[in-house]
């Protein structure tokens, strides 16, 4: 499919370009010893590495060995053949964004957020919404252009949708931290179903966030965007603003 002239092959860079060096660590459920070391080497070779250097083999408990292994791989990927949806927006600074909200929308953007289901970890939604923000980046509550309502953790999807409707939310932020047994997937899917039933889908900007969330995953579920680790409040603020402007222009160009 891709033009061979445009191929851009890349592989991991250790000490020199294209040496394919990868560092890995894992535990094997056997005590350390010559056989355990050989097992680790064989395992790493089965993964496709041409060389395997066991840097560490230590007992992590009586029946477990902890390994740090370096391997080299010939595998490469063509960067140009990769198509990943990304949130692409021109990011505005704090003051600029507030000014643009006033200029383009002429009102505050109402955002309701929560960590939903049985998940009790408010850390993510707090980082994005609370006044203080995260890593020096102000939270949505701090923006004069936003009216932000953080419902906290363990909020049922039904309640989140109800409160969002009551407040006339422009955007709903859903945080999912606990991902054991794909709990987050089920819960997020149920949220989207509910939004469809309530007629919010396609109107209200729906955003999913969490340590194991990415944009493609969120799109697949039916959200407008997904934000993973390292997301700053300003990323979310900018996305919500730009999406609202797009929708507004789509209606009255």
């Amino acid at each position: 499919m891709a033009d061979p002239h445009a191929r851009q092959l890349i592989r991991p860079y250790g000490d020199r370009r294209d040496d394919g060096v990868v560092q890995m660590s894992f535990v094997l459920p056997v005590p350390p010893g010559s056989r355990a070391r050989e097992a680790a080497i064989l395992f790493v070779k089965k993964l496709g590495f041409s060389q395997a250097l066991v840097a560490t083999m230590e007992p992590a408990g009586r029946d477990f060995s902890f390994f740090v292994v370096y391997g080299r791989t010939a595998a490469a990927v063509d960067l140009n053949a990769i198509d990943v949806p990304e949130v692409v927006i021109r990011k505005l600074g704090f003051d600029e964004l507030n000014a643009e909200i006033t200029r383009r929308l002429g009102r505050k953007i109402v955002v309701v957020g929560a960590c939903t289901g049985s998940d009790s970890h408010a850390v993510g939604i707090d980082a994005i919404m609370n006044m203080k923000g995260y890593a020096g980046d102000y939270g949505l509550e701090r923006y004069p252009g936003f009216a932000a309502y953080n419902l906290g953790s363990q909020v049922e999807n039904e309640r989140l949708v109800r409160e969002a409707k009551a407040r006339g939310a422009d955007a709903i932020l859903v945080s999912q931290v606990v991902t054991q047994r794909d709990l987050h997937r089920e819960n997020a899917r149920q949220f989207i179903d509910l939004c469809k039933a309530e007629g919010l889908h396609g109107k209200t900007v729906l955003v999913l966030g969490g340590p194991r969330i990415d944009h493609a995953f969120a799109l697949e579920l039916g959200f407008d965007a997904g934000f993973g680790p390292g997301t700053r409040p300003s990323d979310v603020a900018n996305f919500v603003f730009h999406r609202l402007v797009e929708r507004k222009e789509a209606i009255s160009p």
Binding site: G61, D63, S118, S120, A122, A135, G136, P211, R212, G230
Partner: protein
């Protein structure tokens, strides 16, 4: 009046706080803070002393042997208390009273028969005066026998701990959270072999909101493993075996929080756990549990902890995962003093109080090391005879596990230098998932090194009187005193309503579990409480 925990149930540890650098604290100010905290707590005890809760009553029934589960796994004590609640004014007399009535109506009955008998006596006219006295005496005798058995169990735990000895503080605390108790036991043993002193089994997400304690061994959980009495037993047994193999006593801890604080405390004590997370305000602030419910439940659960020599860990570290750690440092101190005052009212000794705090100041700030040192030293100095539970960074962690590991090393350094009693080890994958085996191993290996390297560092240092560490400690204590004064003036409930703690506001009649609170009738009967409060003859 206040029966202190038997010294034989646990040993005060000498943390050598006198040899740590002086913070030049004003002792009169510290005393004022404690007096203010006592006033804060006093305002709430007027309520606690006049009320009971469904969880307290279920705990009494559990002690009396109603520990099984009925159809569909519903605990029998829940069935009984729910039946009592159906009759207006009945719970106010105490479940033990109805237990006694049911027992005298049907001798030597099975728990299910007792449930039937209870329905009958709940609708029957009151017994005669002699009969009332006799049945109360009978239940008192039964309670005393159960308490004797409870004490003999916890004495056995204390004896094993003395025989084998424990690790050197800071005790290294790690969590297991597979959801399957048998897998937890396997991981706990591996962690112990790698140097862990304390194993915590994280509870399944949202167990704190269940108004019952699940029954039996469990192999499915989300983000953790259900706290059940059988799960406690399985893990304690695994750790007993491993303790003997290693020649070092391994502590086990769980969570006496949420809607079943007293029941978990009893189950934990019975199965010889060593510690429990138990905070007077955590459930209110972070789980939105009703404050009246929590106040009653925390008191009863702490009475059990006091009686059975359990060490509690308080949850102030949570304040600085919601609020900013630098801005909210004084709320941690104020809350610790309030937790201390509550614990003292429940008869707990200093060695049982593992006050919580954490290494959580934003890494983007300058001078976080002296600031964390200041806070850790301040806590250590305010509570010189208490273990102190020191939590690792969590809030500002991201996916770079190598940086995360360096971040944890700084917490190890401060913990060792300031001689914290219990250190939860940071995991380099904190921001990613529940710890995998190698995360725990790397954390333990590193903490072992840092503790060995820095254990005596604190004794080598003198701090500048006009320096950042000392000035910061004074500032935090000043603000804590101010907050305590406001809280004492407003009353604790109103202070929580104003989001004074953890940036979270709650209302007295809001939250979960208020319908499980009942007034105590003048003839309220709770023979377990009589023993716990030292009122029994």
């Amino acid at each position: 009046m206040e029966p202190p925990a038997e010294p034989s149930l646990g040993e005060p540890v000498d943390y050598g706080v006198d040899t740590l650098p002086d913070l030049y604290l004003d002792e009169a100010q510290v005393l004022r803070c404690r007096e203010l905290a006592a006033r804060v707590v006093q305002g709430v005890f007027d309520f606690i002393d006049r009320h009971t809760t469904v969880s307290i009553e279920r705990t009494v029934l559990r002690l009396l042997g109603i520990a099984g589960a009925g159809p569909r796994g519903v605990p029998l004590c829940n069935l009984m208390v729910d039946r009592i609640r159906q009759v207006p004014g009945a719970l106010e007399k105490g479940a033990a009273y109805w237990y006694g009535r049911a027992l005298s109506a049907r001798k030597a009955a099975s728990p299910l028969d007792l449930l039937d008998a209870m329905s009958m006596v709940l609708r029957a006219p009151p017994a005669g005066e002699d009969e009332e006295r006799r049945l109360r005496d009978d239940v008192r005798g039964e309670t005393r026998a159960a308490c004797d058995e409870l004490l003999s169990r916890v004495r056995a735990r204390a004896a094993l701990r003395r025989e084998l000895g424990t690790g050197t503080p800071p005790l290294k605390y790690v969590i297991v959270a597979t959801g399957n108790i048998h897998e937890d036991a396997e991981q706990a043993r591996a962690a112990a072999q790698a140097g862990a002193d304390i194993i915590a089994v994280i509870r399944s997400t949202a167990q704190s909101l269940l108004d019952y304690v699940p029954h039996g061994a469990t192999t499915e959980g989300y983000g953790g493993t259900y706290a059940t009495q059988e799960n406690f037993r399985i893990l304690r047994e695994a750790l007993d075996i491993e303790s003997r193999k290693l020649g070092r006593y391994l502590h086990l801890t769980n969570y006496s929080s949420g809607l079943c604080m007293p029941e978990i405390a009893l189950a934990g004590a019975w199965e010889r756990l060593d510690m429990l997370l138990n905070d007077a305000m955590y459930g209110i602030l972070f789980r939105d549990i009703n404050m009246k419910r929590t106040m009653c439940d925390q008191y009863f659960s702490r009475r059990i902890c006091a009686y059975t020599g359990l060490v509690i860990n308080t949850g102030e570290d949570n304040y600085i995962t919601t609020a900013d750690a630098y801005e909210a440092a004084h709320t941690v101190i104020a809350s610790q003093l309030i937790n201390e005052a509550f614990a003292r009212r429940a008869g707990m000794a200093d060695w049982q109080l593992g006050f919580g705090h954490a290494y959580e100041i934003d890494t983007a700030r300058p001078d976080t090391l002296p600031l964390e040192l200041s806070q850790a030293l301040l806590v250590r100095r305010l509570f010189p005879r208490s273990p102190i539970k020191y939590m690792p960074p969590t809030k500002h962690k991201q996916g770079d596990i190598f940086f995360s590991h360096a971040y944890d090393v700084m917490a190890d350094l401060v913990a060792a230098t300031t001689r914290q009693g219990i250190q939860l080890l940071g995991m380099m994958t904190e921001a990613l998932h529940t710890p995998v085996l190698m995360d725990r191993y790397v954390a333990l290996k590193t903490a072992d090194y840092i503790h060995r390297a820095a254990r005596n560092l604190g004794g080598e240092l003198t701090l500048r009187r006009d320096g950042l560490v000392v000035r910061r400690a004074h500032e935090v204590l000043d603000r804590a005193e101010k907050l305590l004064a406001e809280t004492a003036a407003d009353g604790l409930w109103s202070a929580i309503g104003k989001a004074r703690f953890g940036d979270v506001a709650r209302q007295p009649d809001g939250g979960k579990g208020l319908d499980g609170v009942a007034g105590r009738a003048p003839d309220y009967f709770n023979p377990f409480l009589e023993i716990l409060e030292g009122r029994a003859s």
